[in-house]
Subunit: 178 residues, 2 copies
DNA sequence: CACCTGGCTTTTGTCGGCCGAAGTCAGATG
DNA sequence: CATCTGACTTCGGCCGACAAAAGCCAGGTG
């Protein structure tokens, strides 16, 4: 749960700003914040809840509408938008004696949201609710899942060790990783 | 980026449902989903953006309003709500020759959102935008940060190895872990 | 003690998310 | 060829998120 702690107690730690970002007020460009960009796509409740059901293996329009409890109008609109945003892919299928229909499966960009989904579930589950709920576990060992912050070298990283820096349109790896 | 891969290619993997949750339609209790619970608190854009600025070290009302670009009305309302939800704590301070004011610092529950913040930034940054932006790095080694899914035993866990199960109000660790 | 300033609160209006119900449409069935 | 069904679309209507602007108040300054 707690990150690697050989540094100071995290109690007051925040992200360190470096370079041009050190003076926070000098940096007010539009669209710099990847959180805002992410929220433009993932920002609505219906998107997250539909994604949840797809992660749980629901693929068809009717199942998705029923299990999420969303209205058909919103389900249809959101699914269309999620396909356009690259979260889901339409895949045709055909049951015997029925016409061809399409089901919705995770696209790479949707699958890359796995840590976010886990982080959200973990945090939501830690809120003191009297009710139980669903939690995720490692099938192999049964241990509960959680999201951890790591760097490319594999080190666990705490808030106190985190630094924010500005990048200038480096070619994004992972975007075309189809 | 990709999880441990000695299993099948993740291309069609979803979360495995076990126990009473195996029949997804039989389980329709309200409030079971920790994602929905998390979204009740974190579900608005303004909450995430304010949290971002606090993570970047902004603590005072005026700074928060200006740097987030939110209106003062929303800033005040949201800060109050975030304090009530346990994300932030008010802390009084006093500048020489000014009256006592209060600033907003991360509370434990807000600090526990670190993996979520990182996951959101990482994913948002991977969306092909022509513009650069801010990214996070490990201060010690300079490596980029990302969110990873792990179990309690420390194993990296892929989607294919993930299992969902129902828990019955086990005492939540981490809630009172101050 | 009148004034200023910073930290909110209130008011008004717009926009988008969501629901519920009704309408559309294509293709399989009888 | 009429009918049915599943997958949407369209049409009000409500409600919460947010912006802009004005008002309020406590405490420090002249």
């Amino acid at each position: 749960m707690t990150q690697a702690t050989e540094h100071a107690p995290d109690d007051d730690a925040v992200i360190t700003r470096s370079g041009a970002f050190a003076d926070r007020d000098a940096w007010t460009a539009q669209g710099w914040c990847s959180i805002e960009r992410a929220l433009e796509v993932m920002g609505t409740r219906s998107t997250m809840i539909l994604l949840r059901e797809v992660y749980y293996g629901a693929n068809r329009y009717e199942d998705l509408a029923r299990r999420t409890g969303l209205s058909e109008a919103v389900t249809a609109a959101r699914l269309k938008q999620m396909v356009a945003d690259g979260l889901l892919t339409r895949r045709p299928y055909r049951e015997p004696g029925a016409r061809t229909r399409s089901e919705y499966v995770l696209a790479p960009r949707g699958r890359q949201l796995f840590p976010l989904v886990v982080a959200l579930m973990e945090w939501g589950g830690s809120l003191d609710g009297p009710r139980g709920g669903v939690e995720l576990a490692h099938a192999d060992c049964g241990g509960r899942l959680g999201a951890a912050v790591r760097c490319e070298q594999g080190h666990d990283v705490s808030l106190a060790e985190t630094e924010a820096r500005i990048v200038r349109r480096e070619p994004h790896r992972g975007a075309a990783k189809e």
